[in-house]
């Protein structure tokens, strides 16, 4: 498994996202796609766990839609997402799985995340999203689920790095 270098198109997307997103402006948040033979993954980072969790979610939606959800327009709707997890990796899986569930049932693509809590045993965030029908799908379409395979959460004082593989 390798993280994409600056030569890769995915990293260009990350740079673009950082510049556009005021909530992450000035921070070192971002994501890159991970190669996997059958599936695809995301490595994401930020100054703290909530920023890295948000970046991982952005990466997940970018895989499905073929681009940044924040680039898309339409009436926004707010949802409260609350999950629990005994450990950081469990919390990350449950957070992303809940966003997938929201998309699957409500047809909502999450765009912005405002965290009230992000540490085991719970993660809670106000999620703003748009309806999927207001976005173009040029990516792979559906992510079936969030796996535990090669799952990683690394927390340092001013930097959090996460890694997750999705089932396509």
């Amino acid at each position: 498994m390798q993280r994409h270098t600056s030569k890769d198109a995915c990293t260009t997307t990350v740079t673009s996202m950082e510049a556009k997103n005021s909530t992450l402006a000035g921070s070192t948040s971002g994501y890159a796609f991970l190669e996997h033979t059958a599936d695809v993954g995301v490595t994401a980072w930020g100054p703290d766990p909530s920023a890295a969790f948000a970046a991982a979610a952005r990466g997940m939606f970018a895989i499905m839609l073929g681009g940044e959800p924040s680039d898309r327009t339409g009436p926004a709707t707010e949802y409260t997402v609350e999950v629990t997890g005994d450990s950081w990796p469990d919390l990350l899986v449950n957070w992303l799985a809940e966003l997938l569930f929201l998309m699957s049932v409500e047809d909502v693509v999450a765009q912005a995340y405002e965290f009230a809590a992000c540490a085991p045993p719970s993660c809670s965030a106000k999620v703003t999203g748009i309806l999927l029908e207001n976005s173009d799908v040029s990516g792979i379409g559906e992510i079936k689920a969030v796996t535990y395979h090669q799952l990683m959460v690394e927390i340092k004082p001013s930097h959090t790095h996460v890694q997750v593989i999705f089932d396509i």
Binding site: C10, F33, E35, H36, T37, A38, D39, V40, M64, G66, D86, P89, D90, V93, N94, A97, F101, M103, S104, V105, D107, L131, L132, E133, V137, S138, G139, I140, G141, E142, K144, A145, V146, T147, Y148, H149, Q150, L151, I165, D167, I168
Partner: protein, 490 residues
Amino acid sequence: MGKNAPQNWRSVLKQRDAVRWELPASYMPGMRVPGMIYADEAMIDAMAGDMAIQQVANMATLPGIVGHALAMPDIHWGYGFPIGGVAAMRVDDGVVSPGGVGFDINCGVRLLRTNLHERAVKGSLPEIVNQLFRDVPTGLGRRGKRRGRPTNVEGALAEGAAWAVENGHGRPEDITAIEAGGCLPNADPAEVSDRARQRGAPQLGTLGSGNHFLEVQAVETIADEKAAHAFGITEPGQIMLSIHTGSRGLGHQVCQEFLGTMQRALAHYGISLPDKQLACAPIKSPEGQAYLGAMAAAANFAFANRQAITERIRRAFQHVLGPPESAIEIGVVYDVAHNIAKLERHRVNGKEMDLCVHRKGATRALPAGDPEVPAKYRAVGQPVLIPGDMGRYSYILVGEAQARRETFASTCHGAGRVLSRGAAKRKLAGVDIAKLLRGKGIVVRANSKAGLAEEASEAYKDVRDVVDVVERSGIARVVARVRPLGVIKG
């Protein structure tokens, strides 16, 4: 992950013959049985540095595993189990692992035969493909859901394909040509959460995306006249259809929830694993029994899903080709699961055992005479459906007795990927896949150009090589080959 993958698997594997490679139990601490990989030399060399064989070793650490941890020739790196992995655990003291089934519970293939010939439909092919694309929802969101009132999925969970037929999606004779009759008897719908039902209800009768597809095909060659005749395959040019999909969001949600349940139960049962995705619980534990009941219910939902799509296909053909209705005959050849865990009885080291056979990207392959083969096929064996890729061909095989003896009656499930999705897109950047296929006489409809590149022929092994290994190992033999005429992708 237990270890890093060696750059040269030949230094680790013991070659038993031209297509069998044993992974010794001494390769990694904790392996309870050796592994066995079915592959030719080129396939083994192509896996240098790849994690798939490492995942075979990880599979072999699971409690209660018997025989070998098996990998079919379409093996490639998955999550937890490799794709193409087969593992059988003793029911008495073994475990069941949702990661050994996969998120798409009972993802599988259904093959339909028609009484139409390529000559007769060639002019209508674009219209047929367009109609199928309209009638069988694909992709994400509302595009990938059925319109109208939400379905009460209770019947689908309990009764599978039979429920679909009773509710107007097909004919009673369809049920006679489905693995397990289209209904796993150990289903326990009460173990399927409301959230899983919420995800699944609008998706019954839909294809999804990723590698799921609906293909209009023509028979290209027939290798085994007797078996082909039994399967209703009559001549080159005969129009066939393949459906590749599974239990949709319902199955994904079941697996996601039970992985969490089993992660939490690992310590209680004293199980340590080399990969968290292998989370498991003893088959006889409350967690194991609940998962098996929910998984079987999700599998039944998948059988009902493919049944509902079958009826949509019939109506689409009728709509395009018109009356008289009786002139168009579309029947089910067979329907196989390739992501499943089933309670089966097999002989291991001369002793009959009750086992839980995990097939993740692997297909059951029963030989002639087996009582579980539908009566109309029992003289020749169970049809085995092996899709290739959208630009080349797919195969119809039949199970052989050797599969009973060494693979728990299992064989491969497809071509197997060789390129990651990103690598496929980079390799095919700027290439118009649909135009390329049109040049070969293949009509394609898809929701996404990027998705097409990721699923292009170049991303997959040549399924002919995979099938060749299967034939040389004696676990299944070729009956016929079909080539794509029309492809619908999510």
